[in-house]
Symmetry: C2
Subunit: 266 residues, 2 copies
């Protein structure tokens, strides 16, 4: 792999209709597939979120909390995983239509967690897939956990892990806001977009928000960003862009100037 | 796992329309899901074939022959795998509808072959899944090969491997004929159904057919059966039944008397 790896996350809020369970945003999926194809990246891992496919089921059946020993929850796990498989199928189909050799990979088949953190990663098939020139398409998934039976592995934990493991050059996180703000841009007009955040500033920022006991005031962005810290520490640059707006993802993939937040070690 | 494992194969010819590319046989899939649910097995692995989903694409793009270095073939592999994922989704959806905690598992994510034979099997997630009480649903798949880049792993090779690995009690193979015949029942009225074949007889039978230079005169059954031999040698009983006929699979799963061919060590 001569070209350094890009790990791309497509947020569930971009590719599904947030408030409508199991309704995909097909125009967005198709547009993003076209943007990814136009960027012609040689070395790419794609991970998508669950949006209105995975989240409502995971919540209803308390999958994150682990296995409670009941058959009804086993069925709930099956439904949650299968909803993610269904969303994944739409994403992979759209990529294949744009002639990208995309291959669906279920995290639950390669990764096991221990107390919700990635503990076992059976890398061989994914490594081979990248070596051959495929684009693996993974997702936030219901996975097996050594302590709890099963749990939810977020796409965010996954991208940071894969970026570190495969020594990625960068992570691009496509979301439905313009980046990381100093507050919640929807509630607070004073909130400012941060164009660049160094690791040290990020830690201060997270501390401030933690002290204020206000979680997710930045539109859910901060908990995502927290997962990126280990990757940033290893030198992976993270770029958060608004993938709900046309052309942003393309520009980000091409390394062109684009509105968003860059998070880097320095 | 107190109850011994059953490995069930649903032939691609049963769950798809053989001569119509990418057309599933939905009534058959639904009926089989109901039969499996009625049998209430505690310990089950399900594997299905490709039928008109996987086979035409695998053939068109020469996936079995290995990677030829061309981008068009990479896309062909992606299409082949994705067609199988699509068929798998229909099977798993039908099982979940019958309240079976079925979980889609792509062989290409856990298994790598070497010269077309299973060489690496990363078992942990599948083992955990069985321990928790899920029904994994795998399929004949386009997989990565250590020598050839990629190839096709047949569902038949897979079921024998899994049956041996997990010390299964039995393999049930659901096909669209009544079992193993002494010849091709469609072409030859003299062909007789074999109700029971011991390992030693099977070897003689295969030799006879081999000597006659006639491949697959038994309706494609003999190449399937060949893959079962290592499992039969280890004491796994194999039952071939006509799953295209209503109730046969149910009876087979319940251990009731059913028309078909039993293959056993003695």
């Amino acid at each position: 792999m001569s070209v350094k790896l890009t790990v791309l996350k497509l947020g569930g809020s971009v590719i599904t209709h947030k408030d409508k369970p199991l309704i995909p945003n097909l125009p967005a999926i198709r547009r993003l597939a076209k943007e990814i194809a136009s960027a012609k990246l040689a070395n790419l891992i794609l991970v998508h979120g669950g949006g209105s496919f995975g989240h409502p089921l995971a919540k209803r059946y308390k999958i994150k909390e682990g296995f409670n020993g009941k058959a009804s929850q086993l069925l709930g796990f099956a439904k949650t995983h299968q909803a993610m498989v269904a969303l994944n199928k739409l994403v992979v189909d759209a990529l294949i239509k744009e002639k990208i050799p995309a291959v669906a990979v279920s995290p639950s088949s390669l990764i096991m967690t221990k107390s919700e953190r990635i503990h076992i990663f059976q890398e061989e098939p994914l490594t081979k897939l990248l070596q051959l020139g495929f684009v693996p398409v993974l997702f936030g998934d219901a996975v097996f956990d050594l302590d709890k039976g099963f749990t939810i592995l977020s796409g965010d934990q996954l991208i940071a892990y894969l970026a570190i493991h495969y020594k990625a050059e960068r992570i691009i996180v496509g979301v439905d806001v313009d980046g990381l703000f100093t507050g919640d841009p929807k509630a607070n007009k004073e909130a400012k977009l941060l164009n660049h955040v160094a690791l040290k500033e990020l830690e201060t920022l997270m501390q401030q928000i933690g002290e204020a006991q206000v979680h997710d005031v930045t539109g859910g962005m901060l908990s995502k960003i927290r997962e990126m810290i280990p990757a940033v520490e290893k030198g992976v640059n993270v770029l958060v862009v608004n993938a709900a707006e046309s052309k942003n993802l393309y520009k980000a993939l091409k390394g062109e100037r684009v509105l968003g937040t860059v998070i880097s070690r320095l």
